[in-house]
Symmetry: C2
Subunit: 241 residues, 2 copies
């Protein structure tokens, strides 16, 4: 096989694989775990996912092939045995959600089939990720609710309380005019206004947090923002327990 | 049966029923349709849901019993036949998400079992609603993708283009530093900052749109905000087509 066709084959492989990134539960869980914990060994992943190392290994291999993660370091475990520590590879997000760094894509004015395909595929991936995260939240609350007789037991109540107190604007979840009241149906005018306000917010937020990614690449990110802040790490740990 | 026990029975019925509000697909769809279209007759609902009137009728009855909707007017159809036009009953949102108007609930400082139960049940309802809406989005994109050979057909591309152009900050979906980049994992500090910024945004947004609800109670609300603006009505109509 020529070098050229070898490259072609690899590109096709990556392209094909990209579409089904969040098809498997484990792939999705890996994405979340690396987002939250930053650096993990196979043993740690095995522990967190409650799956054997041999089950997880092919998924790690897949992530390495997709250039999503890389080996960050090798730790001496005992004797000659070394454990590889994995973490996201710089630029992974842009490689998966391809348009974000692609000038041609950004400046695209025409809605041809190729562009349509790209938009739709990326939106399918993102939507699947959102749904899976919300399903985690749902399972979390259901487990809390069923932990005791006629409602949460003491431990569940404490976890709930912790989450509640994480919210800097205490109780905002239950105020009428809270973030929850805009997570809802809007008129055309409201929608446009909200969109503009959100775009301004995002610019400010990204400016304020720009240093974080560069200065602390290994900083844990346990919160998932999807119209409200999900303490996803806490939820997953509770579900796993 | 005494009046008192009759009232008790009705209260229990409402309480019991509230928990499973979004359990059925039709109940959830009704919620969305009334949010978006504001006023609908049984015939219109039957048409939009692609279900017979007799299938939908029990759900309408249930919504009436829960005080979610009411008969807004009766329209002369032909001869003596009148069609009832339904719409949300003022305060429906507070009646379903009970804590939002309940001073005791808002000021609750202690995390007892009763409060925990309330929080969890409401969050389960909301999460189910979010998931169902995202599932609609997913089905929408999948239908778009599979409409033609190797990608969207012409009609699908046009629909996609319309949605794309609804976004006042064109292409923001694909820019690196867009609203989509904060719909993601955050560190503790970023999470707190984002929460505060969101709360400020919500206050401003609600102030700016406060008149809408009072002045135009029948205004259609075709957009659903869940970290981005979903043109849900358009999606549902496309799915139905």
């Amino acid at each position: 096989m020529s070098v050229k066709s070898k490259i072609k084959e690899n590109t096709d492989k990556k392209k094909r694989k990209k579409d089904d990134l969040f098809k498997s539960q484990i792939n999705y869980q890996l994405w979340g775990l690396f987002s939250m914990y930053k650096r993990l060994s196979l043993s740690e992943l095995s522990d967190k996912l409650k799956k054997s190392k041999s089950t997880i290994h092919p998924y790690i291999k897949d992530y390495l092939e997709r250039d999503i993660i890389e080996v960050k370091e090798e730790k001496q475990v005992r004797g000659n045995i070394k454990a590889k520590i994995y973490g996201f590879k710089k630029g992974y997000h842009e490689r998966i959600f391809s348009c974000s760094n692609d000038k041609n894509c950004l400046e695209k004015k025409e809605f041809d089939k190729e562009f349509g395909n790209k938009i739709v595929r990326e939106n399918i991936m993102k939507t699947k990720l959102y749904i899976k995260n919300l399903e985690t939240q749902l399972k979390f609350f259901e487990k809390i609710l069923n932990s005791g007789i006629n409602g949460p037991d003491e431990r569940a109540l404490n976890i709930l309380k912790e989450i509640y107190e994480l919210d800097p604007a205490k109780n905002s979840m239950f105020k009428k005019k809270s973030v929850y009241s805009i997570v809802a149906y809007n008129s055309k005018d409201s929608h446009h206004l909200l969109h503009q306000m959100m775009n301004e917010l995002v610019i400010k937020f990204n400016e304020a947090t720009a240093g974080e990614e560069d200065e602390f690449p290994d900083l844990e990110k346990p919160y998932y923002f999807l119209s409200f802040g999900m303490p996803l790490k806490k939820m997953m740990e509770y579900l796993k327990s």
